[in-house]
């Protein structure tokens, strides 16, 4: 029979679960409220979610302070791993979510926000992502991943349009396949090393000096495919444009940021030790993957006719760009990843929110998607401020200084240079140039073309105070990013460095 296990509560360090628990409790509270009194206005749920997210953030920041004092904290049978990466990723996740939630307060009615379950699911999802980043146990990561994903599929479907269902089904099916990959990869690692904890795996592999390199590589292949799916690496990216197009603009924006940072953290944990151990194969594959992801998605983005789809491809490209950090694997590059993503969150969220603001109920005449370029034609004449703000986000995405993303790009390219990847740095730079074309295309439509007659109905239809506030925050964040970069960089570098990356 099994020996009873004696575990002291203190050694469990149950506090490590606090942030996720807050989110879960929040979700339960929302469900309870609905249980007691149905039909409440969505604003209530928005605010409740916001409050819990605030608490969540507080808890994470508390961990952050603790981390700076005591270093990495383990908990729950060492399943939980609260290091600098976990903390920063969680901050990005929670802040991203906080900026997303108010987008529910649209002036038009949208089906999904009437369900309190939407908000509950949302909070569950956040908890899932938090679990994903705050562990180096493959089981935990898997659970976190699936929790979040399953919630996300539902959220997409809740948009209640034929396209959203299609998107949800596609995403779901591919997600299931990816889950299979992940599990299989984990299994191989388990078979070789007898552990599912990444640091243990690393130790075991180092001990026998990568004797089973073939199996290690096969495991890596499966995990790469699974994580690659999450962070939409070519050729595992195919879901991205369709899912973005099918879901609401707000959710698409969210998806371009939060799930990916979770994926990046897992990728960093999984692959960087391999890269550092001199697994050349992985270096080559990552190199190729980074370049292909960046370039191919950029090229496909060029030919899109729908802004949201273009932004989907663009976000794939940005992901590829950031993935270079994992390949380079220096403290600078890893810090760069977080800096980039933090700045990217603001800009991209702003861009998607602009789409959300201009969302109309029905398709425009002669168009097959929600946000065709033509819709934005001549916007500077009808809504100069909106056009300027949108242009701002586009320029930032293109990497035109001094707007937010430029600094991330610069730092990333800088880290590539420092890491010795000069050619990669050049490819990254040139990709930014290709990307500039499709961002410019929108600017061209907005500033240099005449408005299309009959398209007025699409403008600012969905605007509400909270949406405008979010846009305002995003815009300010984008313009004045330069002043935030220094403190951000300081903190990020500190966290990353102290986590051993």
């Amino acid at each position: 029979m099994l020996e009873p296990i004696n575990v002291s509560l203190a050694s469990l360090n149950i506090m490590t679960l606090a942030p996720m628990l807050i989110a879960i409790v929040g979700a339960l509270v929302i469900l309870c409220i609905d249980l007691f009194k149905g039909g409440l206005h969505k604003s209530l749920y928005v605010m409740v979610s916001l409050l819990f997210l605030l608490l969540d953030l507080g808890a994470i920041i508390d961990f952050g302070n603790g981390f700076l004092k005591n270093g990495t904290v383990l908990g729950m049978f060492d399943v939980m791993l609260i290091d600098g990466l976990a903390i920063m990723a969680q901050i990005i996740i929670v802040v991203g979510s906080m900026l997303f939630i108010p987008l529910a307060l649209t002036s038009k009615r949208f089906h999904e926000y009437n369900y309190p379950e939407y908000f509950a699911l949302f909070l569950f999802m956040i908890a899932g992502f938090q679990f994903m980043v705050a562990s180096d146990n493959l089981i935990m990561i898997f659970i976190g991943l699936e929790t979040a994903s399953l919630a996300l599929y539902t959220l997409i479907a809740l948009h209640n349009r034929s396209k959203s269902f299609e998107a949800a089904v596609k995403y779901f099916t591919m997600g299931a396949l990816a889950a299979g990959f992940f599990a299989f990869g984990s299994m191989i690692f388990y078979a070789i090393t007898g552990s599912v904890e990444i640091n243990q795996i690393a130790l075991a592999l180092a001990k026998d000096e990568y004797a089973n390199i073939g199996f290690v590589l096969i495991a890596v292949v499966f995990l790469l495919a699974a994580i690659g799916f999450k962070i939409s690496m070519v050729p595992f990216h195919t879901w991205t444009p369709d899912v973005y197009e099918g879901s609401s603009a707000a959710l698409a924006g969210y998806m371009s940021i939060v799930p990916k940072i979770a994926g990046f953290v897992v990728a960093m944990r999984l692959f960087e030790f391999l890269v550092h151990s001199g697994v050349v194969w992985l270096q080559v594959v990552l190199y190729v993957a980074v370049v292909v992801t960046m370039t191919a998605s950029n090229i496909w983005a060029l030919v899109q006719s729908d802004v949201k789809r273009m932004l989907a491809y663009s976000s794939i490209s940005h992901a590829g760009f950031v993935m270079a950090a994992i390949l380079i694997g220096t403290t600078q590059s890893n810090s760069g990843l977080f800096l980039y993503w933090a700045l990217f969150s603001f800009t991209n969220l702003g861009a998607f929110t602009m789409l959300w603001v201009n969302r109309q109920k029905n398709l425009l005449p002669g168009q097959s998607s929600d946000h065709p370029y033509e819709k934005f034609a001549g916007m500077v004449k009808t809504m100069p401020m909106a056009a300027v703000v949108m242009a701002l986000f586009m320029l930032s995405l293109a990497g035109v200084p001094p707007f937010g993303l430029f600094w991330g790009k610069m730092y990333m390219i800088g880290s590539a240079v420092t890491g010795g990847y000069t050619v990669l740095a050049l490819i990254m730079a040139l990709n930014s140039a290709i990307a500039a074309y499709y961002y410019l295309k929108l600017i061209v439509f907005m500033f240099m073309k005449e408005p299309m007659p009959g398209y007025e109905q699409g403008y600012l239809l969905n605007a509400s105070l909270s949406l405008k506030t979010i846009i305002g925050i995003a815009a300010v964040g984008t313009i004045f990013a330069v002043f935030a970069v220094n403190p951000l960089l300081k903190v990020i570098t500190l966290f990353v460095y102290n986590s051993g990356y």
């Binding site: 099916t173 591919m174 050729p235 369709d242 194969w281 190199y287 090229i299």
Partner: protein
């Protein structure tokens, strides 16, 4: 004395600006009077300076810094010495006359005010050219006269031929100017300065090859301005400008700037006699070459222009042979009688309603007595008949060639002297003698305004006395600066034979011209259709050759550069790269066909490819750090 220098220099500028103020207004005689007055002032100042210089002094002022960068220092410095004062006198006299003359000549022209503005600007530039104390200052004037020449040749800008000629003159001069600039660069980098005094003091210290190159490049510059072969075609075409312009710019002053340059740079050319010989040879060639073209031409002004060209050749012979003072002396004398000739031609043109073909004139001595007298005087002077100016200056050049033992040059020049006499008097004969052929065309000539004739009178006087009266004092003055070499044929017999022989030869030529053209004009079909006649008449086909060899191919090449290279290669490459990227997107984005099955397939394919790679890699496992990449 500085004040006179400044007056001499800036009076024309003031005049030009004054006239320029009225540039767009209708004719106001005041502009003509004021500019003429100011030029007269300039002349007076120059005369005062002349007397000062005659007493053995020079004036040298530095007005202000122009350019200073690195070691280069170039001031607006002006020097009035024996050479420049000569030029100043020539310029101010001729230009004053031409200005006054123009008041009459341009009487009915819409651009009256503009004309005087340009003309005075030209004088200013010419003054800068001759007075500057450094090579770059000279270059200012050099380009300035080029600009004014462009403006004045193209003065009647509605005429296609005029504007074409203006551009031709400007561009051809620019070709030479480039060489001059190169010469200046060389001078700067080998001597560190462009000031005349510094350059001339140190020119002996640098390698002789460098000096040779400097000399060559400067002379190419001079060739452009003085229209020496092969840069000569612009001068004849420049006759499209108003006649006073031809008189002032394309006869008396600007075209002689090249000679002035060589004279001014005499310390350089003294060191490189081979280049000097080349200059002299080229000069002799041009003298002959131009004279032959003048023989058959049917355009009054062009004939005089070729004559100018020919005389410039003479001057270069003198300068090239080291007889700088002779060259300058001939320059001066030539300025007087050639300007006079042109002005006379201007009167004829006016009377003939701008008819230029002397074969359509004749017998004008009746109606235009004074013009006839003046032009005949000028022609006699040009032909070099004793005791007029040409005799003293031109025959001196022959003597120089003889004394320096360049007998070929001497022969060529002698023959040319005969040709000169012939075509000059062919022109006089055709215009003023014989039948009044113009009556057929219904033209009734009249003499020019009295004040115009009056203005021309000083030139007439000078054409007569300049040689006789000025030679000795001039020699004494100018040789304080220039090498004082007296060219005397010591053997008296030879001297007399030569002098008298030359005179006889020239007189024979004149007589022949009169005989052939003074009575009735017979057109000899056989001669005219002959090869030589056609060759000469078509200016040795040189303009045509230039057009075919340079102008047209250049335009073609330009079009090719634009349409084929720029648009189809350079630009197309850039667009091509962009298009390739875009097309790749168009071609490949269909892999996203929206079908879930294929999406899943892509994932599996990705996985399988990676697996294959992994297996393949494991087979040849090798730890090489990629970072070396």
């Amino acid at each position: 004395m500085e004040i006179y220098l400044y007056i001499a220099l800036f009076a024309p500028l003031v005049g030009s600006l004054f006239a320029g103020l009225f540039g767009a207004s209708p004719k106001t005689v005041i502009t003509g009077i004021v500019t003429s007055g100011l030029l007269f002032t300039s002349f007076i100042s120059s005369a005062i300076l002349l007397s000062f210089v005659m007493s053995g002094h020079t004036v040298h002022v530095e007005m202000m810094t122009w350019m200073a960068a690195g070691d280069l220092y170039i001031p607006f410095g002006f020097v009035v010495d024996q050479v420049s004062v000569t030029m100043m006198m020539v310029v101010s006299i001729v230009s004053t006359v031409v200005h006054i003359y123009s008041i009459g000549y341009m009487d009915h022209d819409k651009g009256f005010n503009r004309f005087f503005s340009y003309l005075s600007a030209f004088v200013f530039s010419m003054m800068v050219l001759v007075m500057s104390d450094n090579f770059l200052g000279l270059f200012i004037g050099w380009e300035g006269v080029g600009l004014c020449s462009w403006l004045l040749i193209g003065f009647w800008y509605h005429k296609e031929s005029a504007t074409w000629a203006a551009n031709e003159a400007f561009i051809m001069n620019r070709i030479a100017d480039l060489a001059m600039l190169i010469g200046i660069f060389m001078m700067y980098w080998s001597l560190g300065s462009l000031q005349y005094d510094v350059v001339f003091a140190n020119i002996g210290n640098i390698p002789v090859e460098v000096v040779t190159w400097i000399g060559i490049f400067l002379f190419i510059g001079a060739m452009g301005k003085s229209a020496q072969f092969p840069l000569h075609t612009w001068l004849a075409d420049a006759m499209e400008g108003p006649t006073p312009v031809s008189a002032l710019i394309h006869a008396a002053t600007m075209v002689t700037a090249g000679v002035y340059l060589v004279v001014r740079a005499n310390p350089i050319y003294d060191l490189i006699p081979e280049v000097g010989l080349f200059i002299a040879s080229l000069g002799a060639f041009v003298a002959m070459f131009a004279a032959t073209m003048a023989l058959v031409n049917r355009d009054m002004k062009r004939i005089i222009a070729y004559s100018t060209l020919s005389q410039l050749g003479y001057m270069f012979v003198a300068a090239g042979l080291g007889a700088y003072w002779v060259a300058l002396f001939h320059l001066m004398a030539h300025a007087f009688f050639k300007a006079l000739l042109f002005l006379g031609a201007g009167n004829v043109m006016h009377a003939m309603h701008d008819e230029l073909d002397p074969f359509k004139m004749g017998g004008l001595k009746k109606s235009m007595k004074w013009t006839w007298i003046l032009m005949t005087l000028a022609s006699v002077a040009l032909a070099g008949i004793y005791p007029l100016a040409g005799f003293f200056s031109k025959d001196l050049i022959l003597e120089v060639a003889f004394v320096e033992q360049h007998y070929i040059l001497y022969t060529v020049l002698l023959l040319t002297a005969g040709l000169t006499a012939f075509y000059s008097f062919r022109l006089v004969a055709l215009i003023f003698h014989g039948n009044e052929r113009h009556l057929e065309h219904g033209i009734h000539p009249h003499e020019a305004y009295n004040f115009v004739l009056f203005a021309m009178a000083p030139l007439g006087i000078l054409a007569v006395i300049a040689g006789m009266a000025f030679k000795t004092p001039y020699y004494e003055m100018v040789t304080q600066l220039l090498p004082a070499i007296e060219y005397h044929i010591h053997n008296h017999t030879v001297f007399w034979i030569m002098t008298i022989g030359t005179q006889l030869f020239v007189i024979l030529a004149i007589a022949y011209a009169y005989k052939k053209y003074a009575k009735a004009v017979k057109v000899d079909e056989k001669v005219e259709s002959g090869f030589f006649y056609q060759l000469l008449y078509n200016q040795y086909f040189i303009p045509k050759i230039y057009d075919e060899v340079f102008s047209k191919p250049y335009l073609k090449l330009s079009k090719l550069a634009w349409k084929e290279i720029d648009l189809k290669i350079v630009d197309a490459t850039v667009d091509g790269i962009a298009n390739v990227i875009y097309r790749t997107g168009e071609k490949t984005h269909t892999m996203q066909d929206g079908n879930l099955s294929s999406m899943l397939r892509w994932m599996v394919i990705g996985l399988v490819v990676l697996l294959v790679l992994a297996v393949a890699f494991t087979a040849g496992y090798n730890v090489v750090n990629l970072r070396a990449m």
